[in-house]
Symmetry: D2
Subunit: 346 residues, 4 copies
């Protein structure tokens, strides 16, 4: 059994890790840490987990935790992960970091967008961007995985076949993304106060969202050249789910059928990517609570644009489910282990 | 492997049965039937189930289905189940009926409340009311299980310890229940049209809801005498979940602590009933997508009333999860088999 | 024109006062105060009010405000209102207090439930409980009106005809109330964080909610004897609306028709109370954004209980609309002035 | 007083017309018609309107109605309006048609997208596209106004200043729009069944939505040349509100400040268009229940694109409010008459 610890277990991605790992057949949850709830029972703080996580919340002593665990999931705010992660890796243990600190190839890009000095630049060079469908081989031997952001996961998986094949003009990419409110985390904020989210829809951080450089880094690698995108996130009055609608101009005209074949072929061995048939576009409800990324495409012949619609559950494929998928790869387990549950519908 | 068929697979309880049974380790889904979607693929109609139910929807030929299956789940409107169930039982196969036709001990009570003539009165005498926590022993040997209604499940489990122990005045029971909209089914209805449910809360069928006699039948058996209740259902703008707030006068005064001990003791061997500590009351989100029934209690010393709060997911413990729990019992499997998944939170 | 000031204009009841008063034909909004947003424009903080409230938020100097205004609305947390109100009344100006500090006839009851010492007990003796349908005559000459709580408004109006007529056993009253989340205010709180309210339903403060003594005070006056109630509030995943389901035993049996006649007669001159016909029960959406209290009743002949369903918009008839209704009465205006807008449906 | 009739009063736009017109100071509601509810009281069918619309629903006899009214609002499905409208105009009365039949300059475009033969092509030549901010002068003398679609209203108002000024490359326009569910109407449909909308977000009719040619017609007129757009509608789990996020490439680079000045200047006399300050983007909640169109803009200097965010209430500025605004213009009333109510927030 793999002994796993979660640092930052009481945020939403932490709670979702507990949900998944508590029934993972090859994992034993060894330790859950928290800052605000030290000494309390996890089940007392999150009664939904009664019968699943009869453990006390421990203080965040990364070194001690590393001694007891084979793998540590860090579910911390950006900037906070850095030092914690370094301490764990120095003990030779595996880390899946759910924050942004280890997603970037270039420290300067991170520092520019996150307005922070990176304290462990050398470690970022070893970290692997944990999108299994794209970087599986490197993840296998990684000690430190930078688990992707939720918006980037949906957008990169949606565009990968097009960029790899060179079918689109990469200067024309616009991604209009919509997220459920749990994406904002568990911390209190007027923007996530129920009465101000409910029956409301809005855009935010237009052109400035920190997932932009992460998206561009990965799209550029896929394209083999620098890609700049327009990325606009929106807040949907629902708890879970991301849907990204991505527009790009096709270099030549192609039928939907041909493009669907391209997608199906590209993802033919990927259990967690489901390509929808012509005329059917994914809905966030179809992936609710599951680790799937659903993709549908349309071609607008009047403008020769392709429109890619991709949907994930932001807390699963967009965070904790993908983290467990990465863990499975790192430890040589079948990738579906502990993750093969169906979406909850309706 | 148990070969299972679902008659009426395209309503919400049918879809939920597919979700659960598709990953049940001892079950093979043999056949799904439908009236509206015959010949279509289940995954095409419900794309959330892609990778889980690659099957074509068959017409509802109960006899043929019975030949191929060990157990049939009937998820049909009341009145429609009767003949279907009879045909299956005559072939010697097990049936879990999710409708109301086989929940009643007395045919006349059924006929009065459902305004229908019962066509198989003799069969109702063999059927067992499938609330495992109360009738497990009889379910073990049942051929036909009448799976309980959603509201009754929450209310009966909430009151059982009190009625068994004789602590409350059974003429004073008032159950004020609230249900998510999926309880109304998948059929189109102005009352379940999004714009008329959302940002809205209402009571309906006050004093007339058909779950009333079902509740009274079971409470009367527990009390050992006739019990009449006031039952008011309400519609909550959410998809899943039932919360019942039940009031009764205590014969003598008791502390919450003593009553919680009574509950904990009554349900000490019941995995799917979770009793909350003093001052904590269940929320529907805490059981979302799971087979748990969560119970909390308060005592109002000013009026000497006990207030019982019980929560279930109406589609799981209130329908399809409980149906699988019954199947597990009927086939001698551990009761949790295929049902031990955690609630989805948030 | 009546010059009006609002102390605490940036909470939800303050914002709703601005919405109503900005188009009240006899009122000029003279001043809005705030603690957190002093110096900012009200429209900047609440862009929904653009074109309606082009004013800067002022600090809370009650005395100075009193000099400039004819009436002050205090929309402050309980305990905070006391001193502010005293300062205004000493200047001889009218006050409508939307908090709890001036709703109680007995200071000791307030102090017991609110765990606070009342600093202006003599002023509470002059204040009038501002439920116009019950206390209109006293409100006319009041200098200080204690505007009712949201739950109490729905429950008292729902029960008044029964208690006045002596038809129910007043020891049997149970009020099971449900509120939208805006009732919890604009202050940040984990309980009102979107992802923890949405798709969730719960009870809270069972038997302990501070609206209990307020309800009992008014019901007792109507009954002419001490009334004790069981009151359970619940949180509904919607922004606005309260629906109270109230149960009581009838002393003798009565038809719904007779009781509806009693209600219609009792409220025949009340524009803001709408009695629904037999078999129709109010929904919160039917009063959305309006000052109406809708009431429907059912009789359960099997238990001889009456079930009263009453619905209001918690921010209008449950708070700011009622406050303006009180102001209209105090200033001798027609009661509907500025309040005669239709509910928003759907 | 203007005598007004509504043909099709029991759909959502009809109900919203009743809400607005029942308190319009210059209008008397003369007749409401329905197909499904003839002979019933409007207040009985829509109890939210109690005290506002004490009228019986009449059958749809357009000719008889025209005799009794000065203006008829037709709130009918496309295709159905044609003949009704013709009958009314022949009697010399004014018509505001809320459907699509009279929005198009070219009958062939209508027929291609709506798959219908237009029965009154000559009448379409007289009809005026009723977007007051763009076509006010022509509306003044119109007998027949084709009231704009909801999506087009948000998009055209959002782009008008840019197209008029020639600042954008009109081949690059992409409009990603999101609508609340009431936009789908009151008719039953699986897509609008509560449990399938709630906690769900989806795109639909990608590249094929019938509002596309309407948008293009008006944008082309503004640009002075043919404009083709990519338009993708989405369904948001909320009742009311449209938010359109529109992307276009700037021909040259411009600062947000300069562009905001352009917008403010363009709309300086328009009460119902509110331009937001730099860095603030409209939210649908800010226009809830009101006739405002709120607009905010961002410039992405990395891609030299402008992103326009525009928000309306789909049932008010997107339908019934705009219809009344048009009526006010046609009858020479101040444009705000009966429409100057504030958004409901929260």
């Amino acid at each position: 059994m793999i002994k796993a610890g979660i640092i930052g277990a009481t945020g939403y991605t932490g709670v979702e890790l507990v949900r998944i790992l508590s029934r993972h057949p090859e994992v034993r949850l060894e330790s859950l840490t928290s800052q605000s709830y030290v000494g309390q029972s996890f089940e007392g703080v999150f009664p939904s987990s009664n019968n699943f996580a009869n453990m006390l919340l421990e203080p965040q002593d990364a070194g001690a935790l590393a001694d007891r665990c084979d793998v540590i999931f860090t579910a911390l705010p950006h900037g906070v992960s850095m030092e914690v992660v370094e301490e764990v890796t120095q003990k030779g243990k595996k880390v899946i970091d759910l924050g942004a600190d280890y997603r970037f190839d270039r420290v300067d890009v991170y520092e520019e967008w996150y307005k922070l000095e990176h304290k462990t630049p050398e470690l970022t060079r070893q970290s692997i961007y944990g999108l299994p469908e794209i970087h599986r081989d490197k993840i296998r031997t990684a000690q430190l995985v930078g688990n992707p952001g939720c918006f980037p996961t949906s957008i990169i998986l949606g565009l990968a076949p097009l960029l790899k094949s060179g079918l689109i003009d990469s200067t024309t990419i616009i991604s209009d993304s919509k997220s459920g409110v749990s994406g904002g985390g568990r911390g209190l904020n007027q923007a996530f106060h129920y009465a101000e989210c409910n029956e409301n829809f809005k855009a935010y951080n237009i052109g400035m969202h920190r997932h932009t450089p992460e998206i561009e880094q990965e799209l550029s690698k896929l394209a083999g050249s620098d890609v700049t995108v327009s990325f606009t996130p929106h807040l949907v009055p629902m708890t879970r789910g991301i849907l990204s609608t991505t527009y790009a101009s096709l270099k030549k005209s192609h039928s939907v059928e041909d493009l669907l074949e391209l997608y199906s072929d590209f993802y033919k061995d990927e259990y967690f990517v489901r390509i929808h048939q012509k005329g059917q576009y994914p809905q966030t409800k179809w992936v609710y609570g599951s680790n799937f990324c659903d993709i549908g495409i349309a071609v607008d012949p009047r403008t020769n644009r392709i429109i890619v619609v991709s949907a994930i559950d932001n807390l699963v494929k967009g965070a904790s489910g993908q983290a467990v998928q990465n863990m499975n790869i790192v430890f040589g387990l079948p990738e579906k282990t502990g993750l093969d549950f169906a979406p909850v519908f309706p």
